[in-house]
Amino acid sequence: MDHNIFDGLLEQHSSASEMDLSEEDNNPFVGTHHLYASGIGTGIGGALPTNTSTNSPPSSSSFPSTPVHSSSAGSSRASPTSSTSSHAVVEADAETEPFVSLSMSTTATTPKNTPHNVNGPELIQIIDAGDFKDPWGKHAIGYVILYESNKIIRRYSEFHSLRQSLARLLPTIIIPPIPSKHSLLKYIWNPINATNDSKIISTRKKMLNSFLCNCLNIEEINDDIVFQKFLNPEFNWKDVLSSSPIIILPLNNLLAPPLNPTKPSPLHSILPIPSNSSLKNYNLIWQQHITMKSHSEVSNLPIEIIQNEPQFTHIENLFQNYKRIITHLLKNIRTNKSHFHSLSTYFAELGAYYNAFSLENDTAMPNGDSERKRNFNNPMLEIIGHIEKIGHSFDIIYISSEILIEKYNSILEDPLNELSQFLNEAFRVLNFKKLKFLQYKILEKLIIEKETKLTNLTEIENQLQKINDSLVNSTILADDNNMTDARGVEPNVVKKDTRSLSKSSTNSSSSGHQNEIRIGTSKLNYKTSTPTMNLNKLEIKQLTEQERSKQIKQLKQDLTKLKDCLSICVSDMLEISASSYKSLMYAYNHIHLTIAKILKLFTTNFKAWIRECLENWKLAKSRIDQSL
């Protein structure tokens, strides 16, 4: 029988995992994050296996879908030499092993090519984009990446999945954005052109190029095996996606070490998952945590986490403001673009009318003899050239304006969109950090609860002991007379106990469950949880001696595990704090650099436009002045 360490928590967790199972039934590695039973049994200090093929789910009864695999994996673990007998293990090994060695070889070859690295931005480039046939014979738009003199063709969807995988592999790193998918609406409006539109392709080409460059600049991404494989033409991306480390990733990054999600400790998988909706209370909970120093023993977060928090808050506020302004800017630029566009259309019309104007005067007198024509038209003839010149000016301004408007896309909108996506990514990383803290708070809450319970139990135990002791003393002193009195007390207690035994066991588990949910949701529920604890106190008194001692034992056991979890959580927090801060600072600098770049780029282009218009008007003016 499995012991129920966390009361409701475990129940909730296993129900969640069952849901996971139902979602990905066919995945043999889905049991990865259910290691707690065996993991806790063996202890946390145990050396962690390199990949999941060795992580055997412990209780086959709770995972009906994976019994075969778990047993075979277990046997292979027991006797590695006889692993050939197990089909599943061979498969798993075949999938994982070669990649490890290959990725090692690719990383080993990179240093040889270091001379190329000097060029920086030209290290990687998308040199072409166009129709190609993938290995399955399907036509698609492929993007040809030139990297270290290799040509790799990847599709947009492959970039997309790469990004998603990276986000899961590196939860503390801001993954550079790629252009967003086509909106469904666009597809409905323009179903044929949507994917083949050369405009979209060229935009994507540029943005994907910038994505790759950004990735190379971030060492965590650059060093990642999956990213390396993406840039290696020898790998079929579909295969990469369906092999480790991607498929052994935990479904939730909160249940794995933040810097190494594919290698979770057994304790990680039993960590509680705070809901995303609890994020909005983060600031409140954090403030409470800082101000309430009461439970000194448990809630001692490392000083650096508390010290770093203001910096994170500052960055988050700053980024949120950036995001808001960028959204405004984008909206503004879009309206300006449309205004500019209609203005340039008017220029085109003006050009046409001025030109017609000049022609009209030229041919106004078709019948007259030439001398008469010259005589009569003399004044107008003189200015035909001027009118035409003005018309020409408007024509040229129309053209150069259209070119500038075209450039608005690439010099303003795309980079700003990219920035906005970057900021969203930063919020993802920040949220991950917050969730980790909330996770910590849940654990802390549980520990406090358990500790109270334990103290209550031991108190009662002590009291009963005292009563017993006094009883024993009295029997010795007062013989049989007092015996009856004492008996009168004892049965009463037993009677009460039996009455409420079944009730209390269900109550305690369900109340624990409820507590766990409440912690995450709101401040109000923090308070409501205290009366239930008082109730527990009463219930505790009604337990039998055996049950009490059993509970005390279990509580102590749970507490050690919970504290282990807490310490893991704290170390995770430290890792997240350091790593995400680094990444956020990278983003911080990147954003500032990008803004400066956008300003410069716009200025250059805009200046060129002004100069062209100016020269054009000057030319027209000089022509007008000439004939004066």
């Binding site: 700053l318 403001n321 950036y322 302004i325 405004h328 800017l329 503004n332 630029i333 309206t335 300006n336 205004h339 500019f340 209609s342 203005l343 008017y346 220029f347 019309e349 003006l350 009318y353 001025y354 017609a356 104007f357 009209e360 106004a364 007198m365 019948n367 007259g368 005589n375 009569f376 004044p379 107008m380 003189e382 200015i383 001027h386 009118i387 003005i390 000016s393 911080y588 500032h592 803004i595 400066a596 300003l599 410069k600 200025t603 250059t604 805009f606 200046k607 002004i610 100069r611 218009c613 100016l614 008007w617 000057k618 027209a620 003016k621 007008i624 002045d625 004066l628």
Partner: protein, 423 residues
């Protein structure tokens, strides 16, 4: 006979007109500026706008020998004063193309924004165009009314007199438009061409005018966009200050460029709206005035043609009477015979009557012909003047259009050069 002689005479007149185009003997520099709202007479409810009219000229009579061309004559007039001047000129110079005044803009009166800067500035420019056109006209510029208008310190009393004189003649003027729907039978080829040309010009100018209206509107929204953009950038700059001073400085500089752009665009738009479009509108109106004149000329010609018709009919009738019973008069003659009237005597009497009528008609016809021919000559002279003026105006306004664009682009180029250097 008549056709040939007319042709000859007109060509002569034309040659004369074109050979030495008359130029006004003096030059005038007239500036209409500083529109100011004045409260009206205590009795009237609403005020009016007074414009300052400054004149510089080499016509010494303007100064009453009290100064020279360095001296600037300044008077204040309101729109209705200019309207009066216009009407007087129209009355006194029926054969001239009187430059048009801007519309009365009744709507603006109702909407109540006739004191708005946009409205008065535009009107200012249009009024100046009017006065300049008058001053450049050889005949109009020498009229007393023009001089009085520009110089008189005692305009109020003059106005009364002028208004009265106008009242008397008003009927005659309107008479000319009575048979506006009659068309000339024998239109001079040259006028057909002039008409076609002016129609075309009118259409083009109208179209360009409309387009510029749209451009002005768009420019306004563009400039508004830039202002908004500036606000956004300002906000961003404030955020970045303290984070990245270098970037904050860059944003500040960039924002200055945007602000300059916004201002520059506003100025350009103002020029387009207040001056260029007004010029175009005035040109359209000028074309209209020219058409009016042609219509008047046609009127004179119609008069002549009708007379000539009448004369031909009379001569024909006379001839019929002389040659005996005209087929058409058979029944009438029979009737008279039955009534016992002496046919021979009455016929002779009729012939006599007709003869005297023909003589007087011939005289009148010659008169009408003289008038029509004279009018046509004047008209051609005017049209020639108009063509010159129009060309000059188009040239000038195109030049100033180019100038303002150059100014705009130079200004923002300078601003953005600075931005580029600092980034």
């Amino acid at each position: 006979m008549t056709d040939q002689s007319r042709e000859n005479s007109t060509t002569k007149a034309k040659d004369k007109a074109r050979g030495n185009p008359e130029k006004p003997p003096y030059w005038y520099e007239i500036i209409v500026s500083d529109p100011q709202k004045r409260t009206g007479d205590p009795g009237s409810s609403s005020g009016y706008v007074s414009y300052q009219i400054s004149t510089k000229t080499n016509n010494t009579s303007f100064y009453d020998n009290r100064g020279n061309s360095e001296y600037i004559i300044v008077v204040h007039r309101r729109y209705s004063d200019l309207l009066l001047l216009h009407d007087i000129l129209l009355n006194d110079f029926p054969t001239c193309i009187i430059p048009p005044l801007p519309d009365k803009k009744v709507f603006q009166y109702i909407a109540g924004d006739r004191f708005s800067q946009r409205f008065t500035q535009k009107r200012c420019h249009s009024l100046q165009n009017f006065l300049r056109r008058v001053s450049l006209h050889p005949d109009l510029s020498q009229s007393m009314a023009f001089k009085t208008f520009l110089v008189s310190k005692d305009w109020e009393s003059h106005r009364k007199v002028l208004q009265d004189s106008l009242q008397i003649n008003k009927d005659e003027v309107t008479d000319a438009f009575m048979n506006a729907f009659k068309t000339v039978n024998k239109q001079n080829e040259e006028f057909t061409e002039i008409r076609e040309k002016s129609d075309k010009l009118d259409r083009t100018v109208t179209k360009i005018d409309k387009l510029f209206h749209k451009v002005v509107k768009k420019n306004d929204s563009m400039s508004e966009d830039y202002t908004k953009l500036g606000t956004n950038l300002q906000e961003l700059q404030e955020l970045v200050t303290g984070e990245n001073e270098e970037l904050a400085e860059k944003l500040k500089i960039f924002n200055e460029g945007v602000t300059q752009l916004s201002y520059g665009l506003q100025d350009l738009t103002k020029y387009l709206d207040y001056e260029y479009i007004v010029d175009l509108k005035d040109l359209e109106h000028y074309i209209d005035s020219m058409r009016q004149l042609i219509k008047l000329k046609d009127q004179k010609q119609i008069d002549y043609e009708e007379l000539s018709d009448y004369l031909t009919r009379s001569i024909k009738e006379k001839n019929n009477l002389i040659s005996g019973y005209g087929g058409s008069n058979f029944f009438a003659n029979k009737l008279e015979e039955l009534a016992g009237i002496n046919q021979e005597a009455s016929r002779r009497e009729k012939i006599n009557k007709l003869e005297s009528k023909i003589t007087s008609l011939t005289g009148e016809l010659e008169n009408a012909k003289k008038v029509a021919d004279g009018f046509e000559q004047e008209c051609l002279k005017e049209i020639y003047h108009f063509e010159n003026m129009k060309t000059k105006e188009i040239k000038q306004s195109l030049g100033s259009l180019a100038d303002h664009h150059i100014e705009f682009y130079e200004r923002i180029l300078e601003a953005w050069e600075k931005v580029d250097d600092s980034l």
